[in-house]
């Protein structure tokens, strides 16, 4: 079970002793803390940080097979199905821990959600409101794209080939952005020191905004084409 110990960055300070057997601290050292009491093996209140939960370094590049393996192993240990006949409090911790496990798996396995999570936890603002700022290099193309979309909305289907062409160009742009993101992830993970990492994160934030903007364009054209039955 040692591989399932988790780093206790946010170990709940109000529970230094085991809630069940009263022995304490429930974990021999502040870090890493286990999900379970080292004396009586009872489930302890879970930590909320996803990387800590999965006992993973705070990296933006992840081995997805490894992540899935840990997800299955932790599910076996924490799932409420395993605690049907446990005490009420342990059942509650099991529910909370499994919710964090599932939420964390969902976020960490998706590169974009993972990056957004790291940004948010590092105090960056990644709100949707920035999607209105058109990336300067796309200004002209987006202008024409919007014109064509308006024409499609008013029933002119002759613009469909032009829209499909724009769509293809956006999709290849997305692929390019994803490669760019990968490179930045590697740079972030290799960066020495907090400041260096923050500098990379700031660049990643901009790339993600651009990506979100382009994705919305693709989604919009798909929606309009479906609506027109084209």
């Amino acid at each position: 079970m040692s591989e399932l110990r988790i780093l206790g960055e946010q170990a709940p300070a109000e529970h230094p002793h085991c809630w069940r057997c009263g022995n304490g601290p429930a974990h021999e050292h502040a870090e890493p803390v286990s999900l379970f009491c080292q004396f009586c093996n009872t489930l302890q209140p879970p930590v909320a940080d996803y990387f800590s939960f999965f006992d993973l370094p705070r990296h933006l590049s992840l081995d997805l097979a490894e992540l899935q393996r840990k997800f299955y192993a932790l599910s076996r240990l924490l799932h409420p199905d395993r605690y049907t006949r446990a005490a009420e409090r342990e059942r509650r911790y099991s529910l909370e821990a499994t919710a964090i496990l599932n939420d964390g798996y969902r976020v960490l396995r998706d590169p974009v959600e993972r990056a957004e999570y790291v940004l948010r936890e590092a105090g960056f603002d990644i709100g949707e409101q920035r999607t209105r700022d058109v990336p300067p290099e796309l200004l002209e193309e987006v202008f024409e794209f919007n014109m064509a979309l308006d024409e499609l909305k008013s029933g002119d289907e002759t613009v469909v080939p032009q829209l499909m062409e724009s769509r293809a160009s956006f999709v290849s742009l997305l692929a390019e952005i994803d490669r760019e993101l990968d490179a930045h992830f590697a740079e972030h993970d290799g960066a020495a020191g907090r400041e260096a990492r923050r500098a990379v994160l700031e660049r990643i934030r901009k790339i993600l905004n651009r990506r979100r903007y382009i994705r919305n364009l693709v989604a919009e054209v798909d929606r309009q084409l479906t609506a027109q039955g084209a």
């Binding site: 199905d81 049907t84 006949r85 529910l95 964090i100």
Partner: protein
């Protein structure tokens, strides 16, 4: 702090049963060693019809007994009640066209069926089916059953799940888990096969359709995506056939029977039988006898397939969507498992095979596989099965109402459950003391197109200038797919009180009230039965004494003895109509004592007569 132990009150070795609470039929199963088994009824049937009747005597009967009353007492006999679970009357207008039930006034948030004056909610009706299954299980296993796993359609929303849980409580069952039907089926399928890979479960039941796609790996059953339609099933097929039969009869007999409940039930039986036969025969005869007349017509499988083509088509779009959500193509699906009686229809099998490009498994009994899976899940919960684990998903996105009637999604559909989301709310007016949060379920953008779940009222907020208060609200969907909400004032760290107003379904208080009433009713019923039994006993002794007064032995008694018997006889006749069974039993005893000499002398003379070889 000292150590302490928790007493589990013997719960540790209590048996948990698995229940498939179906639209048409229900089953109960348990794990016998390593094999899941269906528990038969005392009559030996494996399926219990999901039919409940409120009899003229004022008691509920369920299952086969209720099925027997379907034709004589159609207005008091409920079937397909699953279609009404967790719904308001506006949701079920279409369903009600198919169902001959009277709906009482005020059924907006919970439907109340009027069974000849007796008002019942769908959970109460389902509870009667569950009670029947519980009794069957108790009789078969010889022990009390109080804990169960109950299956629900994967596409059931929060209110429908809650209604099912309420039904369990009303039947005296602690529902330890609600399991999605297709997922349960996959458990039964994967148990003895040790399968690995991607499995699609296609589940076409009596009233609902579900598709679930799972990854089976090392005993983990991970649902990747689920989709469905809670208003699509075998009932719709029956309806098509009914329409044809009713139209034919209207032409042939010159009589429209669609308003005649008794006739409609007779015709329904006939078309269902024809439908079943068409799964193996190329053509069948629909045959109806009613009111001394006979209606007959031939139905070919070809015509049948034309009639139901669009119903089968309607199941395919959810399948495509589920594959898209799981990021899979049909080529990546390793196996397809069929569940539900309607998957016996050859056209359904053909359509499924064409879509998934693989021959579906048909070796499992599609009527039983869900109940068997529920029994496996029950054994997982009891700890008897250790190496399997189900990871299910929520079928519908969960969101809250924001400015302009728009829904902001917090937990997306196909998220593995338990799942949670946290959102911070603030006040918009100075001194505001509460915040109302409207929670919805569904995929659409606008509030009016989604399903209202509940309104959560964050109460007793410290009155502060607008925007100063920050309340963190945590939405948590548990392993049953049911939502709970907790709130915390971020400024004070205090737990914030939340009042829940469910949009559909019963409140906790209502369910508790019903449970109390059913206990009171049980007492009343018990008392009534004791009185009835005492009167039966009184009838016996009264008629025996009446006969004895004509016997020669009566005249052998002394004057006083005869007077004592008459007094006791009179006493019992007086007590006979009392509602207190003890009074009746008391008088029976007195009469018994007063007639002892008489009985003895009668016995002696009988013996003497017998020895003489003559009959008295």
């Amino acid at each position: 702090m000292g150590t302490f132990q928790i007493d589990f009150g013997g719960a540790a070795n209590k048996r948990i049963v698995g229940i498939d609470l179906g639209t048409t039929n229900s089953l109960v199963a348990y794990l016998d060693g390593v094999t899941p088994k269906v528990i038969p009824t005392p009559e030996g049937d494996r399926l219990v019809p999901s039919i409940v009747s409120y009899t003229d005597e004022g008691v509920f009967v369920a299952g086969e007994a209720a099925r027997g009353l379907q034709i004589q007492r159609p207005e008091r006999t409920v079937y397909s009640v699953k279609r009404l679970m967790g719904r308001g009357v506006d949701d079920v207008r279409d369903d009600l066209k198919l169902l001959p039930f009277q709906i009482a006034e005020g059924s907006e948030s919970v439907i109340r069926l009027d069974l000849g004056g007796k008002l019942v909610t769908p959970p109460e009706v389902s509870a009667q089916v569950l009670l029947e299954l519980k009794r069957n299980a108790e009789a078969h296993l010889g022990e009390e059953i109080t804990q169960a796993v109950i299956t629900v359609p994967a596409y059931f929303n929060d209110a429908q799940r809650q209604a099912t849980k309420d039904a369990g409580r009303l039947a005296g069952l602690e529902v330890l888990r609600l399991v999605n039907e297709p997922t349960a089926a996959s458990l039964a399928y994967g148990l003895d096969k040790r399968k690995e890979g991607i499995v699609a479960v296609y589940d076409l039941g009596g009233g609902t359709f579900d598709i679930s796609i799972l990854r089976l790996q090392e005993g983990i059953f991970e649902v990747l995506a689920t989709n469905g339609d809670t208003r699509l099933g075998g009932d719709d097929i029956d309806e098509r056939l009914m329409a044809i039969a009713l139209e034919d009869i209207a032409t042939e007999w010159g009589e429209n029977l669609s308003g005649n409940l008794e006739a409609v039930q007779t015709i329904r039986r006939a078309v269902i039988e024809a439908k079943h036969q068409l799964s193996t025969l190329p053509k069948v005869a629909i045959s109806v006898r009613y009111g001394g007349r006979v209606y007959q017509r031939e139905l070919t499988r070809e015509l049948f397939e034309q009639l139901i083509q669009d119903i089968v088509e309607r199941t395919l779009q959810p399948c495509r969507e589920a594959m898209r959500d799981a990021n899979l193509t049909p080529e990546q699906i390793d196996e397809v498992v069929l569940v539900g009686g309607s998957t016996r229809i050859p056209l359904v099998r053909k359509a499924v095979e064409a879509l998934f490009k693989t021959k579906p498994h048909t070796e499992l009994n599609p009527d039983e596989v869900v109940a068997l899976g529920a029994a496996v899940q029950a054994a997982i919960l009891s700890g008897d099965v250790q190496d399997q684990l189900l990871l299910d998903v929520t079928p519908l996105s969960l969101g809250i109402e924001t400015m302009g009637g728009v829904v902001t999604k917090l937990i997306h559909r196909n998220s593995t459950i338990p799942a949670s989301a946290t959102e911070t709310f603030t006040t918009s007016v100075d001194g505001q003391k509460n915040v109302l949060i409207h929670v919805l379920q569904g995929e659409r953008e606008l509030v009016k197109d989604c399903r209202s779940l509940a309104r959560f009222d964050l109460k007793d907020i410290d009155p502060l200038p607008a925007g100063m208060t920050r309340i963190e609200v945590r939405f948590l969907i548990d392993a049953n797919g049911i939502l709970s909400v907790t709130a915390r004032d971020l400024r004070t760290g205090r737990q914030q009180s939340v009042e829940v107003k469910p949009s559909y379904g019963l409140t906790d208080e209502q369910v508790e009230q019903m449970i109390r009433e059913s206990f009171e009713r049980a007492e009343e019923d018990f008392a009534a039965r004791q009185v009835r039994e005492a009167r039966v006993e009184a009838d016996n002794i009264l008629s025996a004494v009446e006969k004895a007064r004509a016997n020669a032995a009566w005249f052998d008694l002394s004057e006083e003895e005869r007077a004592a018997v008459d007094a006791a006889l009179n006493g019992l006749q007086m007590a006979y109509h009392s509602e207190d069974h003890r009074l009746i039993l008391d008088q029976i005893e007195k009469l018994d004592a007063a007639t002892r000499t008489l009985a003895e002398s009668m016995m002696n003379s009988a013996v003497r007569q017998a020895l003489k070889g003559t009959k008295i």
